[in-house]
C-alpha cells in the first residue's frame, strides 16, 4: 500500500506556492482596502489584523456606486460592454464551434490549426493589427469609401464604444470557441440520430436536442471569457483613448498606477471580486442544478 502522504506530497510545492502567491496576496488586498495610509507619502499601510480594520474608505467607495455617481456609471457601462461582447462572441463562436465539431471532416485538421493560431499571437498584437486598420487612412476606411458605404473617413479610434466592443469580441472569441468546440465534440452522435429517427426535423433537432445538450458548454465557455473581460482595461486604452468608454478596470488601474489612493483601488478590486464571485456562484448553482435534473430524469 502506498503511504498516505506519497501522492499529496507531489502536490505540496504547487499548493504552497499558490497559497503564498495567490491566497496571501488576496488577503493583502483586503488588508490594504481596510487599512490606512502613511501621512507623508500616502503609501498604503495594510491592516493585517482584522481588529484593526477601518471601513471609511470602503464606505466612501460604495457611496460612489450609488446610481448617478462615478463608479455606478462606469459599472453600468462595463456591464453593457461585457454583455454585448459575450453575446457577440457567442453569436460568432457557436456556429464555428458547431461546424468544427459536427461537420468538418477533411478540413477539420486545418480548421483546428487555424483556430488555435490566435492563441499564439499576443492579444496586444491582435489589437495592434486592428489599430493599423482603423486609422483614418487605414484599410477599413479606404474599403468603406471605395464601396460607397461612407463618404468621409470615420474616426474609429476616437473613443467609440462600437470600436471597443468589436475589439473585445475580436480579442476574446478564440477563448470561447475552443472550449465550446471541446464540449460540442463530445456530444454523442447517436443522441442526435435518435432525434431524427423519432421524426424531428433538422431545425427541431437542433433546438430541442443539440442546444440543450450544449447549454452547459455554452455557460462554461461564456464564464471563461466573461470573468477576465470584467477586468479588461488595456483594450479600451489602446482602441480608444477617451474617458467616454472607460471600464471598471480602467478606474482600478487609475488608482493604482496613476494616483496616491491605493486604498481606494484596493476597495474597488474587492467590489469587483465580490461581484465576480457572485456571478461564479450563480453559474455553479445553475450547473449543479442542471446536472441534478439530468440525474433525476435518467433515474
Amino acid at each position: 500500500m502506498t503511504r498516505r502522504w506519497f501522492w499529496p506530497s507531489f502536490a505540496l510545492p504547487g499548493a504552497v506556492w499558490l497559497v503564498l502567491l495567490f491566497l496571501v496576496p488576496t488577503y493583502a488586498v483586503v488588508a490594504v482596502a481596510f487599512g490606512t495610509v502613511d501621512p507623508i507619502f500616502q503609501n498604503p499601510v495594510p491592516a493585517w489584523n482584522p481588529l484593526d480594520w477601518q471601513f471609511d474608505t470602503m464606505r466612501s467607495v460604495l457611496a460612489e456606486f450609488e446610481p448617478g455617481h462615478t463608479f455606478w456609471i462606469v459599472s453600468v457601462r462595463t456591464l453593457a460592454y461585457v454583455a454585448l461582447s459575450v453575446a457577440g462572441c457567442l453569436l460568432i463562436g457557436y456556429p464555428v464551434a458547431y461546424y468544427l465539431a459536427r461537420h468538418a471532416r477533411r478540413t477539420k485538421g486545418i480548421l483546428l490549426v487555424l483556430l488555435i493560431v490566435p492563441f499564439w499571437v499576443s492579444y496586444l498584437m491582435r489589437m495592434l493589427a486592428w489599430i493599423g486598420l482603423l486609422f483614418p487612412d487605414g484599410l477599413v476606411n479606404r474599403t468603406l469609401i471605395h464601396l460607397g458605404v461612407i463618404s468621409q473617413p470615420v474616426g474609429w479610434l476616437d473613443g467609440r464604444p462600437s470600436s471597443v466592443i468589436l475589439a473585445l469580441i475580436y480579442g476574446y472569441v478564440p477563448y470561447l470557441i475552443l472550449p465550446l468546440y471541446a464540449v460540442l465534440d463530445r456530444i454523442d452522435r447517436s443522441v442526435l440520430e435518435a432525434g431524427r429517427d423519432l421524426g424531428a426535423s433538422p431545425i427541431r433537432t437542433f433546438f430541442h436536442v443539440t442546444l440543450p445538450l450544449s447549454r452547459n458548454g455554452i455557460l462554461a465557455a461564456s464564464v471563461l471569457i466573461t470573468l477576465p473581460m470584467f477586468g479588461d482595461y488595456y483594450t479600451n486604452d489602446v482602441i480608444s483613448g477617451s474617458p467616454h468608454t472607460s471600464m471598471i478596470g480602467n478606474q482600478i488601474n487609475l488608482y493604482f498606477q496613476g494616483g496616491t489612493q491605493k486604498t481606494v483601488g484596493a476597495c474597488l478590486v474587492i467590489v469587483l471580486s465580490v461581484f465576480l464571485a457572485l456571478l461564479m456562484s450563480y453559474y455553479l448553482w445553475v450547473t449543479v442544478r442542471a446536472s441534478a435534473e439530468t440525474k433525476e430524469s435518467l433515474l
Partner: protein, 421 residues
C-alpha cells in the same frame, strides 16, 4: 504627472547640421529685471491661512514662501571634501537629460555615471521609500519637495560646492518652495498651454474672448481633441478658464465644478486623455491639445517630411500662465554626495544647461539664456516662440503646488470621475 511621464523615448529635438552649441558664449545678455518681483520677496510664513503639509511643514505657495526645516539627523556634508570615485547614480525621468551632457560630465570628472529612470512620481516615491534604492541624485518636482523633506528622503545642500548657482535666475536661487535653495537646485522651467494645428483649426486660441474656449468649442473636431493625462494639469486648466487663479484650491465646489467643465469635453468632442501631444499634433491625429511648452518646442522634429513647422501653434496666456519648474536634489542615503554636488554644479553651468536644452526642449532658468536669441538663432521656430519661458513669465505665472492629504483626495476623486466618462 509630469512631462516626462510617458513610456516612449525622446530623441534629440534639434538635429540641424552645423548647429554647434558652443557658438553661444556664456557672456550673453543678462535678462533685464522684470516686474512681479514682489512675489519673490522673502516673506516668512507662519501667518494664519497657511496650509500644513505632512510632517508639520507648511505647504509652500508663491505668497507663502517656505524655508524647509533642517533636521539634526539629516545634515549636509562638510565643505572642502574630495569627490568620490563613483559611479554616480542618477534617478531621473525617462529621457530627460541629454546623454551627451552626461558623457561630458563623465569625461571631465573621470567617473562613471549610471542612470535609472522612472515613469511617474508614485513609482519614484515607491522605489525611494522601499529602502532598497541606492541613488545619489534625484529629479523631483514642486509638489513632492515638502514630502521628501518631511520623510527625510533628501539631504540639505552644501552651497560651498555649488558655485554655479549664481547663474540661475535670482528668484529661483531663492524659490518660494525652497527658500535659500536648502535642498534643491532648479533644472528646467516650462509652461502648460494649448497647442493646435494652424492649418486644420479655423480659429486660434487668441481669436476667442476666452482663449481656453477653443477646447470647449471643438465639437466640429470631435475625436481630435486631447487634454493632458495628469490629475492636476487638466483640472487646473478648467479652473484657469473660469478665471480662478488658485490652481491649488481645496474648495470642493470649485474642484467639482472644474471636473464638470472637463466632463463637458467628453460629450462635446470625445476628448482623448494622453501625453502624446508632442507626436499627435505634428502627426495630425490630434488638432487641439493641452500641451507642455517643452513638448511643443521639440514638436517640429516629429513633423512628416515636407511639412513646415508653421502648422504648429502654441498658446499660453501672457499673465497667469501655468508655469512649473523642476529641480534636482541629492538623496539622503547618497553614497557619493560630493560627486553629486559636483554634478549639480555641472548642470548649472551655462553651457551645459544650453546643451541639455537642445536635446530636451525644456529651458533651464539660467540668466545667460536669452529667449530672443533662441528664436533668432533657430533653436525654436518663430511661430513657437511662446514656448519660451522668460523670467517675467515665471514671475507672473501660477504654479501647481503641493496639497494637503484631503486636498489630494479631492483632486484625485474629481479626476477619477472625469476619467470615468
Amino acid at each position: 504627472m509630469h512631462p516626462r511621464e510617458r513610456p516612449t523615448t525622446r530623441r534629440q529635438f534639434l538635429i540641424r547640421a552645423g548647429m554647434v552649441v558652443g557658438t553661444l558664449s556664456g557672456a550673453d545678455l543678462i535678462l533685464s529685471a522684470c516686474g512681479g518681483s514682489a512675489k519673490s520677496a522673502a516673506t516668512t510664513s507662519g501667518t494664519s491661512g497657511v496650509l500644513m503639509g505632512p510632517g508639520g511643514i507648511p505647504l509652500a505657495r508663491r505668497e507663502h514662501p517656505v524655508t524647509l526645516p533642517l533636521y539634526a539627523d539629516n545634515e549636509a556634508i562638510a565643505s572642502g571634501l574630495d569627490a568620490e570615485k563613483g559611479p554616480l547614480q542618477l534617478f531621473n525621468w525617462a529621457a530627460y537629460i541629454n546623454p551627451a551632457t552626461v558623457k561630458k560630465f563623465e569625461k571631465e570628472h573621470n567617473v562613471q555615471v549610471s542612470i535609472t529612470t522612472f515613469e511617474n512620481e508614485d513609482e519614484a516615491i515607491a522605489k525611494l521609500t522601499s529602502g532598497k534604492a541606492s541613488f545619489d541624485v534625484w529629479w523631483t518636482t514642486v509638489d513632492l519637495i515638502s514630502r521628501a523633506v518631511a520623510g527625510k528622503l533628501i539631504q540639505p545642500l552644501n552651497h560651498g560646492y555649488l558655485a554655479n548657482l549664481k547663474n540661475v535666475w535670482p528668484e529661483l536661487q531663492n524659490p518660494y518652495y525652497d527658500q535659500h535653495s536648502r535642498y534643491t537646485v532648479p533644472y528646467t522651467v516650462y509652461t502648460t498651454g494649448i497647442a493646435w494645428r494652424t492649418d486644420k483649426v479655423k480659429k486660434a486660441p487668441a481669436d476667442y474672448a476666452n482663449p481656453y474656449d477653443i477646447l470647449w468649442d471643438s465639437h466640429q473636431y470631435a475625436g481630435k481633441v486631447a487634454v493632458l493625462d495628469d490629475p492636476r494639469e487638466a483640472l487646473a486648466m478648467a479652473l484657469l478658464r473660469r478665471g480662478i487663479l488658485d490652481v491649488n484650491t481645496e474648495d470642493p465646489a470649485l474642484v467639482n465644478r472644474a471636473q464638470k467643465d472637463l466632463s463637458q469635453l467628453t460629450s462635446i468632442a470625445n476628448v482623448k486623455v494622453n501625453t502624446n501631444d508632442y507626436t499627435d499634433i505634428p502627426a495630425g491625429s490630434t488638432y487641439i491639445s493641452q500641451a507642455w511648452s517643452g513638448d511643443m518646442a521639440g514638436a517640429p522634429e516629429y513633423l512628416a517630411k515636407g511639412v513646415k513647422p508653421t502648422v504648429l501653434g502654441y498658446w499660453r496666456p501672457d499673465v497667469h500662465s501655468e508655469t512649473q519648474s523642476d529641480m534636482i536634489a541629492i538623496l539622503r542615503g547618497a553614497k557619493h554626495p560630493v560627486l553629486a554636488h559636483t554634478f549639480l554644479n555641472f548642470m548649472l553651468d551655462n553651457q551645459n544647461g544650453l546643451e541639455n536644452f537642445t536635446w530636451n526642449g525644456y529651458i533651464p532658468p539660467l540668466n545667460s539664456i536669452d529667449p530672443d536669441k533662441l528664436v533668432s538663432q533657430g533653436y525654436i521656430p518663430a511661430n513657437l516662440s511662446s514656448t519660451v519661458v522668460r523670467q517675467s513669465d515665471f514671475a507672473k505665472g501660477v504654479t501647481i503646488d503641493a496639497l494637503t492629504t484631503e486636498g489630494q483626495a479631492l483632486w484625485q476623486n474629481a479626476w477619477s470621475t472625469f476619467k470615468a466618462g
